[in-house]
Symmetry: C2
Subunit: 209 residues, 2 copies
């Protein structure tokens, strides 16, 4: 694949790549070696034309008539998304959801691992959560900086979200996955993604009778 450093890819396309990767990895696990944009599209509910167009932004990954070699395409997508490495993450907020996320086994094979967990509750600080000990969020800044952590997940109450986000950014975090039901303002060079079940549910009820 050629390096295309000058090309800016629309974020909506970037956003579909992890879904392609996820599905290709499932196919690989099923023992499938090659696929087509049609087959991939059926699994994903995305048109074959869209998939071909998206992938063509990054290079030539398949051959007319023979389709895509799955192991090759998986490796290419992992490189493009920079998950051919392992990103250390911090988790802020050790409530019910934080506990569930800390115990989730699905990160490690996808390029991520939680290496620090923070909370501000004295009852929780110092207790074990999975393989980690919950640390005092008052020490978050210095600990994140010295560990060079750039990715964080926030499972804090809505009222704390903006303040925690600012602390994360000040400590060098450049990508925040925010589970708090609250928009946060961060500098333009910091990426934020939101996970809020209510937003998804309301998007669906619009269409219901």
């Amino acid at each position: 694949m050629e390096k295309m450093t000058d090309k800016i890819i629309p974020d909506v396309i970037v956003g579909r790549l992890p879904r392609y990767l996820r599905t290709l990895q499932h196919m690989q696990a099923e023992g499938i070696q090659t696929t087509s944009s049609q087959e991939l599209g059926e699994r994903l509910g995305i048109s074959a034309a869209q998939i071909r167009k998206d992938l063509s932004q990054f290079g030539e990954f398949g051959k007319q008539g023979t389709g895509y070699a799955i192991p090759f395409l998986v490796n290419q997508l992992r490189t493009i998304l920079k998950v051919d490495r392992l990103w250390d993450m911090a988790l802020v907020g050790a409530g019910d959801l934080g506990h569930a996320i800390a115990r989730y086994q699905g990160f490690i094979d996808c390029g991520f691992r939680i290496v620090m967990i923070f909370d501000n509750d004295p009852v929780k600080i110092g207790t074990q959560l999975g393989e980690l000990v919950i640390q005092d969020s008052a020490e978050m800044g210095s600990l994140l900086k010295s560990a060079g952590i750039h990715v964080a997940m926030m499972t804090v109450p809505a009222a704390a979200a903006q303040s925690v986000a600012e602390q994360l950014v000040a400590a060098g975090v450049r990508a925040i996955l925010n589970y708090a039901p609250m928009s946060i303002n961060v500098p333009h060079d910091v990426r934020v993604q939101y996970i809020d079940p209510v937003i998804h549910l309301q998007r669906m009820t619009y269409y219901l009778e």
Copy 2:
């Protein structure tokens, strides 16, 4: 507002409405009575022009120069998104994440409440989770049908996702929020939304150094 039954609104616009509603409700809670597309846009990281354009699809909600009356706009959005009522939901999968979701207090004020929880683990069936008792997923179909439930959340392992989705659809569910890291195939009249932290994380690492 006029009724516009013939107009098909792009789903990407529908998808932004819950974010507008969420932010307007936060402003309301802060005691703010009116707002502008500029102010709303700054909170959301969306341009004022985009917000005006999106809202204009559904009617005239603000006046030139005076902006939007927040209580009025909140009510209109709740009606448009059909969350001016309370939707009964089923939760399938009572693992760590299912437990966290069952205990989440943020659904009830946004139009949703969990009324049934299912699992297939004999150890879990019959035990209490919050105010509900975990029920046997073998009885899910008949229980959902008789209760007339149309919205469900799935927190099941990836390998079970397609099968559970088919059971939900057969029982009359028309909107599924899928937390399993797996695409599911459902009929065209059934809505699916996905929550998968890895997808969001990989979308951000693309942009990191």
